[in-house]
Symmetry: C2
């Protein structure tokens, strides 16, 4: 519960209707996209300007009240659950595209703009903002920046980090920090811009972003390849890259995912296929046609049982359905869907999928794996039931072993979802004790009183790594 | 002077011949590529492994002895001058390419490898490492990482930061930190990889780097356009980008530079031209030819007095000579050459060049400006004489005003050279008091006893910004 005086101070900054502490507001901001994570905040505030954010932070700092900034809360790591209570700051009112600069190919936006709206706007100008997290129809650019969102186009175009070139952010003290600018080169001191991207709201509140745009590719082609052998699909992925072709999209679905998707979408996928690759290339027409022709050859060399190339945009959309409906299809088979993002070097995808399947059998949990094969970012997904504590325990053990397998293969515990609370106990496996210590020091430099999204990234206790006991 | 016991400890780690404290070694490591910056270290050490670096750091930490890690010392910001004495660590013995992974398109290198050697090696495999600082024939990858080096290909391909995806680094304590990996996506905690890139040796010693490679473009075309009007050249730059063309290279020379270059190289440049643009495009042949045709059109629309397109590789090299010989040509006209890298949004290039010329007149100093027009990264260069204190004072005033002008136009004090000691007094102009405070906190988190390249980035006193007095 907040002190009534604090509530009054907050109301006087944003206006009565933009601060709420009624039950409805508190409950609806007690969770995000992550299953089985919930904690009720003490208040919810909706600022309309950087100045208001700054004033709010001064009040919260003075009273050491936790602040959880969020956009649409679509994250999958418990990143915006107010575990320690405090005030949830919803950025939706700060949702303007302030500028698209056609000379410098940059945009300046407020954090609350919906990613898809922004993408649609810049594409109408012949420009391209590539980061395309699956949540983009609902998620905000600010949330994408906080989590360093990836997406299907990461292999060729990179992730959110690669497109954020300047930030305005409010520090816990209320001070306003400005980093970078409309500059492709800037080495004035430590790179605070890239440090804030992916910092999960634990360092500062992002109030404005300068984004890099690139020319929109003029041509695109979509294809699908089916395999009866997992390694054939994996070798195809490696061979495409070895042939110096970087596709715009290079997605993977394993057999359990194919079954679930076909059951849901009835699009004629062969349920005995071991793997499907969804491949897109974009760019100049001649180059795209040449790349696609070469990719078809490689698929056939690797014994793809079928290769389908879309000849129209409608056909392309149909092929994309298999991948796009994966999460929806999975979400309907059991009450709880847990989607993870263990990531490995792309050459290790087949090894990782086989390890995941072994782990699923060992713990008797149903794991479907799909994801971004081109950049090794897999989404092992478990359909389960949060009410069944025994099963959930097995699911947790399985994921622990999956993270361990990813690390053993030279990978990481999270490719694009962030650490939040869900992966905090495993962070040390990836970054080591030295990495954790340095990160804690950075946190302290920004947030000496630990009021910025406390309880995220850093766990009270790190899990011991299974591999140590083997 | 180091305590003889410390010298003995250091010798026992690296062997007698790899630690030196004789006058020759000390004097030759008292300066780097920056004019008028010199300070003698107390010792020079040449480690051959990460383990040795770690052992060395433990000794230096215990005795609070400053450590200045360096490659070839080509930097232009005083970044590797041992201002506070201490031990200079030269990384040249750790110069191996440990791996080029053709499946994952990554390379693992030690920091002491010469950039050009590395580039040549990966190009022989049909791969591409784009960062190409002018110093690349001498500079090391480790030095490039420390300074986040740019180069001529930054506009289209980004800078060093965009290609470093994993690091091994030794902390002042001797602990070994490992970040990232062969991963295109990794959001496990704060991005320490990008933070270490450009940290100028003030946080840790980089002992190994995992680099991202991309397919080598198959085709390239080079052209030159001459202008009698500076704004015509500037409008050409903006219009190329507005036409959704991102050239591989888009370089600029102003009239004073053209005169100096022609006087030196005798390549037939018209000395009355106000500006030259050197433009290269690479990629797929059809796309390159189409882009170059469109660029020629734009140059003509903007009244280029002459447009030359290279039809052979020899002709391309000849056109490149104008830009490549700029620094050499300038370096021979007076005893001291000071080359800066004030950077502005690309749409502000003409405004910036005119401001630089006004400032040159005001302080009666000879400023030649050339650089990377495509990314707004200009190199205003002064030919002067370090022995003439009165003139040097005017040069310093002129640069101060140039930095101020860059900031006023939305730019930065350094695009690719780093802060070092030379730009430390101006850093606050760019990042503000809040930025400095946060950066100092980060420094403290890594280096609590301030032994890592002390005196760099952070100035004892920041300069007051001129604009405040206007």
């Amino acid at each position: 519960m907040l002190d009534p005086k604090v509530c009054q101070q907050l109301r006087s900054i944003v206006g009565d209707s933009s601060f709420r502490d009624d039950q409805e507001a508190l409950i609806t901001h007690s969770y995000d996209g992550t299953p089985m994570q919930q904690a009720v905040p003490d208040g919810v505030i909706y600022p309309s300007s950087t100045k208001e954010v700054s004033e709010i932070m001064k009040v919260l700092s003075a009273h050491r009240i936790p602040l959880i900034s969020r956009g649409s809360g679509t994250n999958l790591c418990g990143g915006t659950v107010p575990n320690n209570g405090g005030v949830v700051m919803v950025m939706h009112r700060m949702n303007k595209i302030l500028e698209v600069d056609l000379e410098n190919l940059t945009a300046v936006v407020q954090p609350g703009i919906i990613t898809k709206e922004f993408i649609t706007h810049v594409e109408s100008l012949g420009l391209f903002y590539p980061p395309d997290p699956s949540s983009m129809a609902i998620s905000t650019i600010g949330g994408n920046i906080a989590e360093c969102s990836g997406g299907l186009r990461g292999l060729k175009y990179g992730t959110t980090k690669d497109y954020v070139i300047g930030l305005e952010a409010v520090l816990p003290s209320g001070e306003i920090l400005r980093t970078g600018g409309k500059l492709m080169k800037d080495v004035a001191g430590y790179d605070l811009t890239k440090l804030l991207v992916g910092s999960e709201g634990t360092l500062a509140v992002i109030t404005e972003a300068t984004l890099k745009l690139i020319p929109l590719p003029t041509y695109k082609k979509t294809m699908l390849a089916l395999y009866t052998d997992l390694y054939g699909a994996a070798r195809t992925v490696s061979k495409i890259i070895e042939n110096r072709i970087i596709p715009a999209t290079l997605e993977f679905l394993d057999n359990p995912t194919i079954r679930v998707v076909e059951d849901f979408a009835r699009i004629g996928l062969p349920v005995d296929a071991e793997a499907i690759l969804l491949i897109e290339q974009d760019g100049d027409e001649a180059a795209v046609e040449r790349d696609i022709a070469r990719i078809i050859e490689i698929c056939k060399q690797e014994n793809a049982s079928e290769v389908k190339v879309a000849n129209t945009q409608e056909e392309a959309l149909q092929l994309l359905t298999a991948r796009r409906s994966a999460f929806t299809a999975l979400a309907r088979i059991r009450p709880t869907t847990i989607l993870e993002d263990a990531t490995v070097p792309r050459s290790k995808i087949a090894d990782m999928v086989l390890r995941i399947n072994e782990i699923g059998l060992k713990y008797n949990v149903q794991i479907c794996t799909f994801g971004h094969a081109g950049d090794g970012n897999l989404h092992p997904t478990v359909a389960t039931d949060a009410r069944d504590h025994e099963e959930i325990h097995r699911v947790e053990q399985a994921f622990e072993e999956i993270f361990d397998a990813a690390i053993s293969l030279g990978g990481t515990i999270t490719g694009e979802h962030g650490v939040g609370t869900v992966k905090a106990p495993f962070l040390e496996w990836k970054v080591g004790a030295a990495g954790i210590e340095v990160m804690k020091g950075i946190k302290l430099a920004f947030d000496p009183h630990n009021i910025m999204n406390p309880g995220k990234i850093f766990a009270k206790e790190s899990r011991k790594r299974l591999v140590l006991h083997k």
